[in-house]
Symmetry: C2
Subunit: 301 residues, 2 copies
C-alpha cells in the first residue's frame, strides 16, 4: 500500500489525473468515501482531472448528470471520456471520415447520439431492434454511403444488425470497422458477469474477417486524444491512471507511459494483486484502499 509520503510525491509530480469511474468514483448510485475531497483537493492544487469509462451506452451528457447528482457539480462534458465519445473522436480526428459518409451502429442510443453530435448520419442502433427476423432477400442491400461500422455493447443485438454491419464492412469501399471497446464482460447487476461489448465485437470480427480499430480503453488513441485536449506531450505528460481493474485500467496506464494507481474500492481483491508480477503490464505502480488516501494527503498539503 502507498503511504502518505509516496502519495504526496505522486501528487506533486503529476499534471493530469485520469480516473476510471465505476469502483473508483462511484459504486452503483453511491459516491465512494473521500472522492469529493480528493477531487476538490487536486483541483485546488491546479491538477487536471479526466474521467474515462468504457461504457458506450450513455452520452457524456448522461454521465455529467450522474456526476452532478452525486454532488460533483463542477464536472463538465469535456471532463468525461467515454468509449462512445472516443469512437466519435476517432472517426473525426484519426480516421478523418468525411461527414458525407454514414455510420452504421451496432450499439445503444448513447453511442448513436455521440456519433450524431459529431456530425454523422447514423443508421442502425435502436432503429434496427425490430428487424431481428427478416426474410433473406436475393441480395441483402446496404446503404453504399456507410463508411464506418461502429460496434459497442448492445443488449438489443440481433442477426439483422450483424448481417447489415458485415455487409457494409465487407462490401462498401474503404469501410472502417471500429469498436468502442473489447471488454469481455460487464456488470449489469452487482453479483454477476454478463457478456460485455467485446462479445458483439468478437461476433463481427469473425464475420467481417478482420480485426477492428479500438477507440476506448486500452487503446492508445484515447490517451492521444486526452493529451491533445489538455495540451500535454505523451513523453512528458506526467499523468497517472487511477483505476480498480488490473486487466483494463492498470494495463491501459502502464502501456501508455502513465504511472498507475490501483484502488481497492472496486472489483480487485488482494489475491488478484498477489498474482501480479513486477514488470508485467498489470502490475500497478501504487496501490491505495480508495481515493480517501489522496483526500487525506491533500488535506495536509
Amino acid at each position: 500500500m502507498m503511504n502518505v509520503a509516496q502519495c504526496r510525491a505522486l501528487i506533486e509530480s503529476t499534471k493530469l489525473f485520469v480516473f476510471d469511474c465505476d469502483g473508483v468514483i462511484w459504486r452503483g448510485a453511491t459516491l465512494i468515501d473521500g472522492v469529493a475531497d480528493a477531487l476538490d483537493g487536486l483541483r485546488r492544487h491546479g491538477k487536471r482531472v479526466a474521467f474515462i469509462t468504457n461504457n458506450s451506452t450513455k452520452t457524456r451528457a448522461n454521465f455529467v448528470k450522474k456526476f452532478h447528482g452525486l454532488g460533483l457539480t463542477w464536472v463538465e462534458r469535456d471532463d468525461v471520456w467515454s468509449s462512445a465519445s472516443a469512437a466519435a473522436a476517432y472517426l473525426t480526428q484519426r480516421a478523418k471520415l468525411d461527414k458525407s459518409r454514414k455510420v452504421y451502429v451496432v450499439g445503444q442510443s448513447g453511442l448513436c447520439e455521440e456519433l450524431c453530435e459529431a456530425g454523422y448520419t447514423v443508421l442502425g442502433g435502436p432503429d434496427d431492434e425490430g428487424s431481428s427476423v427478416f426474410p433473406v432477400p436475393e441480395r441483402f442491400e446496404v446503404d453504399p454511403a456507410v463508411g464506418a461500422v461502429v460496434v459497442g455493447f448492445d443488449r438489443a443485438i440481433n442477426y439483422y444488425k450483424l448481417a447489415y454491419a458485415t455487409m457494409c464492412a465487407r462490401e462498401n469501399k474503404d469501410c472502417l470497422f471500429l469498436a468502442t471497446n473489447r471488454d469481455a464482460i460487464t456488470h449489469l447487476n452487482d453479483e454477476q458477469e454478463f457478456p460485455g461489448g467485446g462479445t458483439m465485437v468478437a461476433a463481427l470480427e469473425t464475420a467481417i474477417g478482420r480485426a477492428p480499430e479500438v477507440a476506448g480503453k486500452p487503446s492508445p488513441f484515447l490517451v492521444d486524444a486526452l493529451y491533445a485536449f489538455h495540451g500535454l506531450d505523451r513523453d512528458s505528460a506526467h499523468a497517472v491512471m487511477v483505476g480498480d481493474r488490473l486487466d483494463t485500467d492498470i494495463i491501459f496506464g502502464n502501456t501508455n507511459n502513465m504511472a498507475t494507481l490501483l484502488v481497492m474500492s472496486g472489483v480487485t481483491r488482494q489475491s488478484h494483486v498477489d498474482a501480479t508480477q513486477p514488470g508485467e503490464d498489470d502490475y500497478p505502480t501504487y496501490i491505495a484502499p480508495s481515493l480517501k488516501l489522496l483526500a487525506d494527503t491533500l488535506a495536509e498539503m
Copy 2:
C-alpha cells in the same frame, strides 16, 4: 486436374467416400450434374458413402427429405452427419453427459431436435427468441441442471440467450461448452457471405472466457464418430473427403488422414487453388471439375 486413370486408382483404393453437400451434391435446390450416377456407381462397387454438413439448423430427417426430393431415394438418416447430429453424438459418446443434465442451446430448431432425440432435455433455442429485451434482475438465475451449452448458427440470436449461456457455462459446475462448428460465414443467398455460426461461437467464447469444444468440421471428433460407425480404423480407413471448400473440407480431410478431392462445382475458383501450396493443409490431393468425373470413370469400371 485428376485424369481418368487417377480417378480409377482412387476409387479402387478407397473404402469410404465422405461428401460435403452444398456445392458438391447440390447447389441450392438443384442436383449437380453427374452426382446420381457417381453415387450409384460407388455403391454398386461396394463403397461406403457418407454426407457431412456443418449446417446445424436442420435435422438429419430434414436432410434425408432433401436427398429424396432430389431423386437420391436410397439415402437414410445414418448416411447424413450434420454438425447438429455431431453435437448430439459428442455429448453422448465423447462427453458422456448424463441424461439427467439439461442442455442450453443457442441455435435453431434442428439442433434442438437432434439433442432431444439423443435423450436430453433442451432449454433455449426458439423458446428464448422472445426474450430479447428483459429487465436485469438482482440475480440472473439459470437452471443448475444445465450441464452443457451448445451453440450453433442462430438467426434469432439475442442478448438473453448470450447471457443465459454465459451464466450456465461460468456458474454451473463442470458445464461443457460445445460448438456445432465455427464457420465464419454462411450463404443465405447465392451472392453474399452472411455471418455464420462462428460469429455466435466467438461471441460466447469471449463472454465465457474459454474456447469451446467443436463437434462438426473440421473437428477430428466427427471423423472418429464416422469411422466408429463404419467399423473403420483411423490409420487404415482409406477414406477420401470430397468437398468444394479449401478452408473447411480440404483442411478437414488433410488433417484427418484422408485423401482429399476438391470439386470445382461449388465456391472455389482456380485462383484460390493457385494460391495453395503443396504441403499446406488446404492443398487438395486431387482436383476434379465435379462428381461427373467419378460417374464417367465408374461407367468404364
